[in-house]
Amino acid sequence: MSTFLGLYNYWIVVLLMMGGFYVVIAQGNLIKKVVGLNIFQTSVFILYISMGKVHGATAPIIARGYHLYTNPIPSVLILTAIVVGVATTAVGSALVVRIYEAYGTMEEDEIHDQDKSL
């Protein structure tokens, strides 16, 4: 039980990851798909931050009285991944805007129907 609760952040990661993935697959609205992708990516950010955590350690800033620091590398890595996530969201949303201008809808099945009738 203690390991189950002790690893709670990893459970949150799994929950967010599967939730985001489900939204991407199940939702027909393109904006909701972008949101789902975002949740999916965010879960990985938490995964990285969690693995850098050292029990009882402080933030990796040198200060008097502290000897134990959290591993800064995963946090630094994930900073880059956050930027990638922002860029993906930007490109994805821009595409949705263009799709909306071209089709007049953001629903996947309606877009599909319009293309079929061409």
Binding site: V44, P74, V91, G92, R98, I99
Partner: protein, 495 residues
Amino acid sequence: MTFHNLPALQVVIPLISAPLCFLLRRATPAWLLSVAVSWICLAISVLLLRHVLGVGPISYHMGGWMPPWGIEYRVDLLNAFVLVLVSGIGAVVLPYARRSVLFEVGNRRAYLFYTAFLLCLTGLLGMTTTGDAFNVFVFLEISSLASYILISMGRDRRALTASFQYLVMGTIGGTFILIAIGFMYISTGTLNMADLARRLPEVMQMRTVQVAFAFFTVGIGLKLAMFPLHLWLPNAYTYAPSAATSFLASTSTKVAIYLLLRFAYDVFGMPFSFHAMPFGPILLALSSIAILFASVGAIFQNNIKRMFAYSSVAQIGYITLGIGMATATGLTAGILHLFNHALMKGALFLAIGCIVPRLNSMQLADMAGLGRRMPWTMAAIVIAGFSLVGMPLTVGFISKWYLVMAALQKGWWWLALLILVGSLLALIYVWRVIEAAYLREPNPGRDLTAIREAPLSMLVPTWILVLANIWFGINPHLTVGTAGRAAAMLMGLGS
């Protein structure tokens, strides 16, 4: 001093030129800059390959930080070969792009096309040179984001939905790779690929490492369009501007295959990928299905671009087939076909791009009688198509020959048979194009007399790739030799 910095310059030059291109805002200066950059990149990669062939692998430490702490750029035989391929295709496609982009993207947005193109080139070259696992992810996303933009610039509005579909699947693939890299870091505490290769065997039994391998394979499978994960590819290739299609078809999937090779054989190592995990059988099964299903799918397409997009999925199957055999000959065949397929598909999509501005259609039915109006373009399609089938005197024959040989060495005659059946299926769809262009009379409703041959600025790059198909088909020592040595290196037999 400058030579020492070449591995970094290779990536930095296009990276800096991309925003410059954006600032130029006019089509012609942006085009001139990107052509110059692509030629410089080609020169650098040829120098690197020559150095690696003569002297040995190059290790470059970014910012002077020693690996495994700093980021290492590591050029060995395998990625030097891929670098030459990527920058070579870029150097051929960009001069061609001027007229093609003017027609398909428009003068006003052309500079954006070149900006995205250079960013894509940066990402692909970076993924190939880097020796750091996290750096791979960063460059992968740079190239992917740039290719979503390139695809969305197509004339048809379906280019937008194709690009969005690719964005969703590509991001899932990229994130899977990120998860895999995280798990590798958890179990070894390092991100340097050479260091990972040393430490992963010690923790081979850990579930975390196995999960990392699974995530990586699925993630990279999405990127390289491995069979059930290929759904983004046909639409993306069909609706992207022709110059983008031929660049992406011949480089982006190839770099993903390079990463699969690097991680499966080098970082995780053969004992893990092929003995502890069922990587070989899964790859062989999926590749076989890809060759059959995608080839049959290609036969039933009426849009010529979509036909060759499906054919790409089948051809990627041949490459992964060679990789999955895990023998020196199989691996040589895989690496060889990686290079050769880039030449074929590059030439084919460039030739198709020559037709688009003249005919204003990509339907096979509209191409009836085109062989007489555009003889050089159609001849290019025929030769590159024969190369795809695997006719002797073309590169296709060389790679099929090695694949069949690898299958027979293992005693798998059914696999050799499957390769031949795949070639026959390819002959059928290539024949459909030939029949339409040469044997059929022009449609009564369509007046072809106004159609002229494509301009020289488009024909010359197309024919450079077509002639490369023949040159490396008659004289394969360079490609076979390099692929063979790279395969021996990956198998741990020494180069």
